[in-house]
């Protein structure tokens, strides 16, 4: 475990240094799979699957079957709303002022008219969710994606995304603004929201983790494609033309 932390911190500082050197133009969207520490990642993956099987899956199934759906939605809305101030900060750091205003307004609307964030009235009013994180900020600043990394308990990541997670934890404005019960409620809600997600997407997660031949490779592929799609702002990623591939060379 200590070895993992040491390797991680070394690699994460390399990402931050690269960002500082690269200056301020967005890094190119990654292609292919760069996984130099695959053996170590596979060990972490086995651990994550074991934890899911023993704890997370059963707990999220009970959470999903005991707690009624509207309550689960409320808990998940509450947790996401508390993430918004941190996202506004990231939007500002990315110089995406329009998104900063959008997310600040979402926070305002949901906190007031949405009863402290229990209802996502902003989305219903057409202010859609535009999530971001410090990993994206690093991307905007020009830090390269880095190698693929599976984190204990968190799951698939890259070096850049992992570095971003650490910064997001440290920089969350709520850490400085609120204290006591509200902060614990926020932490509790975000843990419950994770169980709620695991329950809602259980068919998908189960099919990747338990029904695929190589769940590590499937999770890696899914994560990288989806993460790159988000960072590219939803641009259509390139794909092979199977007709050329199948018929072209015969």
């Amino acid at each position: 475990m200590i070895r993992v932390v040491r390797v991680l911190s070394k690699r994460i500082s390399a990402v931050l240094l690269a960002a500082a050197v690269a200056g301020c133009s967005a890094a190119p969207i990654g292609v292919g799979v760069d996984d130099p520490i695959e053996n170590q990642n596979r060990d972490t993956h086995s651990l994550n699957v074991a934890v899911d099987r023993a704890l997370i899956r059963p707990a999220s199934n009970s959470y999903g079957s005991i707690v009624p759906s509207p309550v689960r939605t409320g808990v998940s809305n509450f947790a996401s709303n508390l993430n918004l101030p941190g996202q506004v900060l990231n939007n500002l750091l990315q110089f995406r002022i329009e998104n900063a205003g959008h997310n600040a307004f979402r926070f305002l609307v949901n906190t007031t008219f949405g009863f402290g964030g229990l209802l996502d009235v902003a989305t219903e009013a057409g202010l859609e969710n535009r999530g971001t994180d410090f990993g994206e900020t690093l991307h905007v600043w020009g830090a390269p994606e880095g190698a693929y990394l599976e984190l204990p308990l968190v799951g698939p990541s890259t070096e850049r995304h992992a570095a971003g997670r650490v910064v997001d934890l440290l920089l969350n404005p709520l850490n400085f603004a609120v204290d006591g019960p509200l902060r614990s409620a926020g932490t509790g809600a975000s843990v419950a929201a994770r169980f709620g997600d695991r329950y809602q997407y259980s068919d998908l997660v189960d099919s990747v983790l338990y029904e695929s031949e190589d769940s590590y490779a499937q999770a890696r592929l899914l994560y990288l494609q989806n993460r790159r799609f988000k960072l590219s702002g939803g641009a259509q990623p390139d794909y092979i033309d199977p007709y050329e591939d199948v018929y072209g060379d015969e």
């Binding site: 969710n129 068919d203 494609q225 590219s232 018929y247």
Partner: protein, 199 residues
């Protein structure tokens, strides 16, 4: 046509454009591809609304799948380079086993689709196919982007891939089949036999 006037400026520009941007002639139009996706989604919704047993819904789903998807190209693509060393009989057996496996695998997840809606938003030409862009609104989850890749290279307009929030179904399935083949030391016969039990 343009060749009748050799060295005209237009012909020169056109030939330059043809060199740098090879634009294939599109037999398949955007609206036709959008219509295909819309009617596939309609048929799937009808199956879900029918309230039949899961096994008969799966049979119906297999029919929809064969009608709208280019099953052959999907199966051959997932087999990857291994198909070059395989015999025709092996490939035919694989394609038929894959078809049933694929339907079972995705058919059984169709309860995620209950109460959901797919809104087709437009299309554009790309490579030799049409990309149909849509947004899926499923119950209890944030809307997400789904791109349907449609081609008529099989002779009829058919869907050959679905990209969901950047995740390419064909690429994922190809990685999955590749991992299965590796584990069976490239034995397509063993893969085909095991596919019949999976999904």
């Amino acid at each position: 046509m343009v060749m009748n006037k050799p060295f005209s400026r237009r012909a020169f520009v056109a030939s330059l454009a043809a060199l740098t941007l090879p634009l294939p002639a599109f037999a398949l139009s955007g609206p036709a591809a959008e219509g295909l996706v819309e009617s596939a989604v309609d048929d799937i919704n009808k199956i879900i609304a029918s309230g039949k047993s899961e096994s008969s819904m799966l049979r119906d789903f297999q029919r929809v799948f064969e009608r709208y998807a280019d099953v052959n190209i999907i199966a051959l693509t997932t087999l990857g380079p291994a198909r070059r060393s395989a015999s025709n009989a092996e490939i035919a057996a694989y394609v038929s086993a894959f078809k049933a496996y694929f339907t079972r695998k995705y058919g059984k997840r169709f309860n995620e689709f209950v109460g959901g809606k797919i809104i087709v938003e437009g299309s554009r030409n790309s490579k030799s196919n049409v990309e149909v862009l849509s947004t899926a609104r499923l119950r209890g989850s944030a809307p997400f982007k789904v791109t349907w890749l449609v081609s008529d290279k099989s002779g009829k307009p058919k869907i050959f891939n679905i990209v969901i929030e950047g995740v390419n179904t064909l690429t994922s399935e190809r990685a999955e089949i590749g991992a299965m083949l590796d584990k069976r030391r490239g034995d397509i016969g063993a893969l085909t036999a095991d596919l019949k039990k999976l999904g």
